[in-house]
Structure formats: C-alpha cells, structure tokens
Symmetry: C2
Subunit: 342 residues, 2 copies
C-alpha cells in the first residue's frame, strides 16, 4: 500500500477562491463578509475536481491513499485576523472532509488551522477538535510563520505554541510544519519561503528542548526537510557545538521528513543520510511543480519513481517509506485503515 | 594549486571585538564612539591569530590560498546606521589586508561592505574602491538582508542594488552573497539564516532578469547553495513554470556555488547535479562547525576530503573546482597570482 502523506486540495472548484476574494474584499467592511453557508459546491463538482486531477494521478502513479489538507498557499494566515481565518479554515477543512467522504479509500483529511499572527494558539483548538472528532482527520498543518514571510511569531520551541502541542499529544496527531504564501517580496513562496521554513523549523527544534517537554510530539518536515538532509553534516556538527545529544536521540524520535524532492539525486541523498524510519512517502501533487522533466520525460512531482529508482532502499525499507512509517507517525490514520480492514 | 574561496577572519585578536563593543555601547552617545585609530593590533598579534589557526589548517589540509574576508557574523549591518557600518567595515577590511600583506602567498582579501538597512547601495562604493585599488582585494561579500533576519531590503534583482552591480562589473569582481548575524529569534544564524539566504538569493535571481541587465555580473552562493542543489529538480521545474529558459542558460553563466557542505553525501550531490564549471572549492574554516565528525574522525569543515572522496569528478574536473573556476570567476585573483608567477 502506498500512502502519500502530503497532498493539498489545490484543485478545489473556483467557487472557493471566489468566496475568499469576497471575504478579503470585505475586510474593511465586515458587514459585507460572505457567510460560510454562501459557498455552494456540489458533490459532483467535488468529484470532477478530484477525479480528473489527484485521483487520476494517484491511479496513474500507483499510490493508494493521500493525507489531504487544504491548499497550503491559500491558508494565507497573514490576511485579516482570527475572525478572518476561522471561517476560512472551517470551509476549507469541510471541503477536504467531503472529498474524504466521497472517496474514503483514497483520501483522509489533515486540518488547516485558523492561525493568525499574534493570536494565542489555543484559539485553534475548537477547529482542530471538530476536524478530528467530526471529520476523522488524522493530522494538521502547522504554520510556523503566520505573518507570511515576516517571521514575527516566536520559534516553535516557545511556550506560545504549547496549548496546541498539548492538544496534539492528547489527540495523537502529528503536525506537518508548513508555511503559506509569502507576502514578503524577498521570498518566492514555493521556491524560497517553503524550503526556508523547513530548514528554520528543524533548526529551532535543534537549538531547543521541545521534545523533552513533549516526548510524543511529532513534526513532519515537508519538501524533504528543506536544506537539512543536504547539510546533514552541518547539522550534526552544530548539534555538537551546542552540546546537544546526537541528532538520532535529540530529534529523530520526533521529527520526520517527507519525500517531496523532485529529482533522483535528491531522493538518493535523503534516503542515504536520514534513517529510513524517519522518511515518509509524499509527492505534494498537484502542487508547485506540475511540469514534465525534460531529462526524464516524467513529471517532476512523480516522486514514486525516485523511491523506486534509488539503490539505497531494500524492499522492506520501501514498505516503511510507503506505508509503515505513516501508520506509526499518524496513529489515527492507522486506526482508520484498520477499521476499513486495510 | 588549491584555492579556498570562502574564508573569514573569525580568529581576529580580541581587541577587534572590544572596539566593536565600545562602538555599540556608544550608539546612543556618538561622542563616545571609538575612532578607527584607537584600535591597536600589532603584526605579531595578527601572525599569532593566523599561524595557529587558518594557516595551520591550510598546511594540514593542503590548501594554498584563501580568499579572506572579515568575519561574516560580525558584519551585523543591522546595528546602528551607515555611520556605524562605515568605520567598522573599514577596520575589518584593513585587518584582512594586513593579513594578506603578511602572507601574500596564502591570503588575498575580499571586502565587507558598509551596508545599512534602507541606505542606498552607492554609499558602499568608496570602501569598495579602496579595498580593490589600495588593498588588492578580489571580491566582496554582499549581504542581501542587512536587517539581520527581517528581510526588509528589496530582492537582489531590484534596482536598489544596481549602483553596486555597476561598480562590480566595472571592477570585474564577483560577490559572495552572504548574510550576517540573525537578530530574528526565529532564525539561528549559521543553522538557518545562512542557508535560507542562499536559497532565497538563488530564487530571486531565478524569478528575475538581472543577468540580462548585467551579463557579466557574478554571484557566488555560499554553503553549497543552501537548499538549491538538493532541490535542483524543483528549481528546474519552477523555472519551467515561470517560462524561464533552462537554468544553464538563465543563471549558470552568472551564479556559482561553493563547496561548504560538511559531509560526503552532500558534496556527492553537489558535484552530481551542478555543472563542474559552477563549483568552487571552499571550506569556510574556521567557522560555524569546528568539531570533528565522529563518523569520519575528521573535521566536518575539512571539505577537501569530500572533494577527493567523491567519485563524480575526474582529475581535470578537480582542477577546475580547486583552481580553474576560481581564476575565471575572480579575474583579479588570477591577475594577482600571475603577478606572483603562479
């Protein structure tokens, strides 16, 4: 079984974007804000948006199940305030839930949180509870920089984030640490901000002692861990300089990397330097890089080819990357699969 | 001959730091600011700081010449204003010049610029002129984020930077794009900010058309290019999405990567995906990672071992990485070497 732990609903029907545009236009005149119930998208529209896109590609590429969350770049937590993010997260999560109900063997949800810069993280808990208890979601996306490229929130090791971590631990859900659109002109969203955030989050954890306070907390660092595996020697050396334990012990019971690295040499490096138990299959399709690589004739984001193509993994290890690790890191996913007899 | 294109004077005598402390303490009372002439460091002190450190390691590891610039994390352009940065850059550059005069076969200078957030880049030109004409410097370090982790300056493709580029082109000197200390608590300086800046700078160039305006401008991206080579497929794919030419043509006549990647798999990847003509040997010793890797028994930053150890390079290609490319990217370095009969 092949589980893709990193999929976003990037192909949601246009009505969703139109609703958001109305919401943004009403920021200065909240009376004109659209209501969640104003959004009308039929099951047929959902089916069309999925069957011709994600599901078609899953069938083509042979993956079975996607952990599916709202479009990352659309979260845009920097827009408005909590009152803006709350209904926006709610309707985005609901759409992912509806997709998971239409295709229960192919999609299972992960939640977008109604984060807002400077707002306490406990405000996200009701939506999180709803997503887990009512929608059967198995994970969340946690934005370490809700300001969108200005990095005004404290590091992930700060107590600011603890209410959320307590809830995550209680619910046994991991967080993918995933930023959203950059509104800082220095950072291209998918070419710089995403990768920088991955590296930043890892280094925040390295310098801190977060996992002493939360030994069962789990973070998934997307995009193959940003710059981290490529600079694994640097990070091992920095941990040494900072008198931290070896990274295996200090971080690798809690931090995991996905395989969203879009060429063979990158996946070869990832699977060489990071222990197999810490690598989870993912593609983030249909996402930032949708084209066909002229060097291979295949889609850049068809990451399964690289997992198949690497000499670094045995068949048993491939099973861990494709399925075993995901079941361990996402206990609620494992439970949901077992309930389906899988 | 082995040229290390990335060395900083991290071991300067303590008097330099003390001068800077006085300068910072006087920010609110400029009358108390120390004068550059207050700094007293003898040639013997310089010799001691170099012979027991950089030069000892160069001899041990077999590198011949280091392109030597002031300590990157000490530049701290976010402190004070241009009047603060100007004398600080001047004395830091002067020390590197004195080292290069004491050891002309082993060190040659690259300049720190007196940048300051929000100040026009033309203000850096007098110091740059002095460093090149009076000190024989062959390159500069250009800080794309003088705010120190708040990223308040425009992207490198913006006309804000053009006065500097015009001067660089006129003088035929490349810039290493190198940030300084992060004063944003989100970013660890050497574990996040440095790597993020490398990735960010590359992506800024990818989205822009800077090298159409300056076809001979040259940027060296340190730390092995941040996350870029590991995600080379992503960047090739993003260039495609953005309807840019192939990266070879769009960026690789102007952008180069150093080899400051502190483990063998990283150097293997770098030398596999980036054309050899774009890779320049460097170690950044004695820098962020000074320890011995328990996995190899050698210093993490002894990058020559990885260049020797990679199966990806022929002897001819090693010559390019060690020497040939540096002579091409730093024409003034080549001229200085030739003047020495090397």
């Amino acid at each position: 079984m092949i589980i893709d732990v990193h999929g976003h609903y990037t192909t949601a029907p246009a009505a969703l974007g139109a609703w958001r545009d109305l919401q943004i236009a009403s920021l200065k005149d909240p009376g004109k804000a659209p209501k969640p119930s104003d959004l009308k998208i039929s099951d047929d529209e959902l089916r069309e948006s999925i069957e011709n896109n994600q599901l078609a590609k899953m069938r083509e590429r042979g993956s079975d199940l996607t952990v599916f969350s709202p479009r990352a770049s659309f979260m845009a937590h920097h827009i408005g305030n909590f009152e803006t993010s709350a209904p926006w997260a709610a309707i985005c999560n609901e759409l992912c839930f509806r997709v998971s109900r239409l295709y229960p063997r192919h999609f299972i949800g992960a939640a977008m949180l109604p984060q807002s810069p400077g707002v306490g993280t406990a405000t996200c808990i009701p939506e999180l509870d709803r997503c887990v208890h009512d929608f059967g979601f198995v994970g969340i996306n946690l934005n370490p920089d809700p300001s969108g490229g200005h990095w005004t929130s404290p590091p992930l090791t700060d107590r600011y984030w603890y209410p959320l971590y307590e809830k995550m631990v209680e619910l046994e859900i991991p967080a993918m640490v995933h930023v959203s659109t950059s509104c800082n002109p220095c950072f291209h969203t998918t070419g710089a901000h995403y990768l920088n955030a991955d590296t930043t989050a890892f280094m925040q954890c390295l310098t801190g002692e977060l996992f002493k306070d939360f030994p069962t907390l789990k973070f998934l660092i997307p995009h193959g861990g940003g710059a981290v595996p490529y600079h694994w020697g640097r990070f091992r050396g920095l941990a040494q300089e900072l008198k931290k334990p070896l990274l295996d012990e200090h971080l690798l019971n809690n931090i995991f990397f996905d395989t969203c690295v879009y060429h063979q040499p990158g996946i070869d490096l990832l699977t060489k330097v990071i222990p197999v138990k810490n690598v989870l299959f993912a593609s983030e399709m249909i996402g930032a890089v949708r084209g066909v690589d002229p060097q291979t004739g295949h889609h850049y984001d068809d990451t399964r080819r690289y997992i198949e193509g690497t000499a670094n993994l045995t068949e048993e290890e491939r099973f861990l990357v494709y399925e075993g690790n995901a079941r361990r890191v996402f206990p609620r996913l494992d439970a949901a699969l077992k309930a389906q007899g899988r």
